[in-house]
Symmetry: C2
Subunit: 566 residues, 2 copies
């Protein structure tokens, strides 16, 4: 592509509403233009990148045996009523009435449509397993669209759905798709993690999210420093420490007049925070519960809610605390409360000795507290905290680190919920109707573009991984009008590189070097080659790798080798 | 692709609502499945064909210098109000309110969005000319969706828009796109015609429709048998015949008691229909007008309305006719009516001698009528009829034939209407604001698939042109489980052909030959190769071209040559 024939339109200013770096850089580079809230036009430059992601996704889906199809974006209300999601899906569902007053929605996802397709198309177990996918524009009416295409309302998504006779086969295909996702993000040149995920409201069993790692990510991910293990911090298991030390101190009360937090108590007493214990008062099915986590840890509400009797727990009110423990919050503790109070200790707390807790008396804490001596062993020991960096990895390999990630893919084992709700069955080998079990596998194609920029940028602009760059290389011409020989040499190199399979642009716009180079750095082309009068005289081209600081003058043979020309 | 791994699902029954052959065959072949009125899922088989069309369109657009981009499908009301089309577009515009009660539409076309893009992106004449295009799902809320994807509500379209400083440059690019369209349909292997079109409500000047020729087409097209000339019959010019013969008969009145049509009169008098003249009474700005066309011709209302004073003409009522001519319809004629009646003669009528007209008297016609003798020369001679087969071509080359066509593309010179309405300007060479002139160029990508089937089918199914077929060739295996050598030979051939660049499927589904061949003929694969035990023993493959009646047994060298393997 000759850039003089392409619509490249960078800009220096960025609207104030662009909060994150990918949004800013996509606007500055002229990859997207805003049409309305959460609606973006992909310019020619942006579309080139989007299509590269799309192509890799398609190739890997095909390789994984998924079969491409295309469902309508507009879906009839009746299907969504069969699964109850017409109401349940909430405000993100863009509902629309046609000229005959029939209701439809602009599909935010396609479980209903594919299950309808399956119940009409799949008659026999012999047609299973099968995985369908599509790459399609979807719409979610976000309450607060922001971050450009990262959280747009209209977006490009790959969604795949698989159908299986039994759970073992679903497991098998789930693994195939898991691996395909890994290949996709690897091929795109992105640092990513597959993390265990809570299936939440969608139901089903196994679920993984795929996150592109970036400091600006919305999600915190715990991952092992020496294995594949990764999970949302909310879901990662905190293992029990090895054993409990022997008691060395006698329990005694200390005055803590203004110290209502573990941090304040630790500072006053000049002890490490991990010697203190936080007592959280909640009300479960059986009444008052005191949940204990170490002072340097935080309680994990999802884990707590999974314990018996706490499915719908709530925080205790100040009045309930005062009535039950005789103290106000800030000085609570598990020592000596009434017998009917259940004490649940986090695994870390159960392993502590000589620890500090509130005295259930305003202005006092207890120091040197020990289990089995000063208070009974906890009624229940469980994992009820969030993991922190340095915790041992739950898979036994290495220790956990915490990073931030942007969710760009999500795979689920849906199970039979949709097929059952919509009466989708096939004949099994015995001629009986069997309800297939389903998997679903999504990738936010347009979101990947923004996530990649969050991960790959510097002060001068985007630093694309090679597979996502609009072009792999660009040939820049200095003063083409002044010296036809320079223009000719640049043109020849441009054509040679393209012929050799290096997707190359020619910057023949005639800009001054400063503006030209700034544009090229901003839009993130991995390899820049400058053809100038001086270089031509010396028989060299000036080569610079986008992520490298320095330029080099190379002859054509060396340049070709550097670019990987075969 | 091994068909055992592909979702091929043909069926024998076709829903009654499928009226036309392409709709029936697409359902039978399992290319599409209906989701709701005017909404179709493209199955894996259908999508393969759709993508082939899309690819050819994209390649030719790129070759024509158009630059691909992608605009949102959801468009804000405000833009459509700037051009007045929010109201004017009518019921086809699917309007939708988001969760904040703002109005949007699901884009049926993108003039507003691209003009908004242009006014933000284009600042200088140096950025012109530029042509943008996209291939995108669009929605038109048809009042009566039918014919499957031929007139669906959701459909895939290529729309392109060009911007130019002056009309000459628009003309130039219009020609470039015209040629690109020709290459697209030629590459797809379709018989087509580019026809002059009326720009209708869209405004602007030049306009061509591209029609795939098929007997079932909705539009009648007049085309020259010896040149490129083609036009909608409504727009094709009917040339004036050469000169008028001398009068040979005296005018006389004949009794035609029940003969109220030219056909009936000609039959009664035993004369050719082209000796009679039809008189049509209309009311224009200046009052009563009698428009005359030959008995074997039909009046063209579009041409009539283009004459001075007839822009808003209407048919005269029976009362008006009786009052003006003193006769009831069926016996009207131009001889002897009041002087204030304007007589407009079609060119053919003006060239007639000794003709027959109504006598303005119930039950009578006049025979042997001649211009200048029995009545004054017509006040106006004009082309006011539809062309018929056998008319001379308006470009002077050959004679016209009439065929039927399906509109699959349409190119317009839009002019400055949109740019003016939306305040889109660029700086010209003198630094002054100039309003660009625009072209727009559409192709119904999904419609092409249906149109191609209308043109290419036989009793057994679809007969795809090679470029559109889901696969170019298929290798069919007879009894693969019985004889592993047959399965192996088929598999080897399948892999060889694909390696040689012939896109080949392997029918390894294990069906009986009858069912297998019926499927393969139905879905229209151009080249079928059967591998059987007997053939293997003889060292031959059974080859059949889809459009040929006979199979041949060929050795592999001959087969490769026949398939064009290089």
């Amino acid at each position: 592509m000759r850039l003089s024939q392409f619509h490249l339109h960078t800009s220096k200013e960025v609207p104030a509403e662009a909060e994150i770096i990918s949004h800013k850089l996509m606007l500055k580079a002229g990859m997207i233009r805003k049409l309305a809230s959460g609606l973006y036009t992909w310019t020619p430059l942006g579309l080139r990148v989007l299509r590269k992601v799309e192509r890799v996704v398609r190739e890997e889906m095909d390789a994984a045996g998924a079969i491409e199809m295309l469902m309508p974006s507009v879906q009839p209300r009746e299907l969504w009523e069969e699964t109850g999601r017409w109401e349940k899906f909430g405000g993100q569902l863009l509902k629309v009435q046609d000229r005959k007053d029939a209701w439809y929605c602009y599909g935010p996802t396609h479980e209903e449509v594919i299950t309808d397709f399956a119940r009409n198309e799949l008659a026999s177990y012999k047609q299973l397993p099968v995985t369908f996918y599509q790459i399609q524009t979807k719409f979610r009416d976000e309450i607060r669209p922001r971050f450009g295409v990262m959280r747009a309302r209209e977006f490009l998504m790959k969604d795949a759905y698989s159908f299986h006779l039994d759970d073992a086969d679903l497991d098998r295909q789930y693994r195939v798709m898991y691996d395909a996702y890994g290949r996709i993000f690897t091929r795109l040149g992105l640092r990513f993690r597959a993390v265990f995920a809570d299936t939440g409201a969608i139901g089903g069993s196994a679920s993984h999210e795929f996150h592109v790692l970036a400091d600006s990510g919305e999600d915190a991910i715990a991952f092992s420093d020496s294995s594949d293990y990764a999970a949302n911090t909310e879901l990662a298991e905190a293992l029990a420490p090895a054993g409990r030390a022997a008691a060395t101190q006698a329990m005694h009360k200390v005055e803590t007049p203004y110290q209502r937090t573990c941090e304040a108590v630790a500072e006053l007493l000049q002890i490490p925070l991990d010697r203190t214990v936080k007592s959280i008062a909640v009300i479960g099915e059986q009444g008052f519960v005191l949940a204990l986590v170490r002072g340097d840890h935080t309680i994990n509400e999802i884990k707590l809610a999974k314990l018996p009797g706490l499915g719908n727990y709530r925080m205790a009110t100040e009045a309930e605390i005062l009535e039950t423990l005789g103290s106000e919050p800030g000085f609570l503790g598990p020592v000596g409360p009434r017998n009917d109070i259940q004490v649940i200790a986090d695994r870390s707390v159960a392993a502590m000795a000589d620890f500090v807790v509130g005295a259930n008396e305003k202005g006092f804490h207890l120091v040197g507290v020990n289990w089995g001596r000063d208070l009974p062993e906890p009624a229940l020991v469980a994992d009820i905290r969030n993991v922190v960096a340095g915790d041992p990895s739950p898979d036994g390999a290495g220790t956990l680190d915490i990073t931030r990630g942007i969710e760009v893919g999500h795979i689920f084992q849906l199970g039979r919920n949709y097929a059952e709700a919509m009466g989708c069955t096939v004949q099994d080998a015995n001629g009986k109707a069997a309800t297939p079990t389903m998997g679903c596998y999504g990738i936010g194609v347009s979101r990947i573009v923004a996530a990649a920029i969050e991960q790959n940028h510097d002060d001068n602009g985007i630093t694309w991984p090679e597979a996502m760059a609009p072009w792999q290389a660009v040939v820049c011409v200095i003063n083409p009008k002044k010296d036809p020989a320079v223009a000719e040499a640049a043109d020849a190199l441009y054509r040679q590189l393209n012929a050799a399979g290096i997707e190359t642009a020619l910057d023949d716009r005639g800009l001054r070097p400063g503006s030209m180079f700034a544009d090229i750095e901003l839009i993130g082309i991995p390899h820049r080659i400058v053809v100038s009068e001086r270089g031509l005289a010396a028989g060299t081209f000036e080569y610079r790798q986008r992520r490298a600081g320095e330029s080099e003058n190379l002859d054509q043979v060396t340049l070709s080798a550097r670019l990987g020309v075969k």
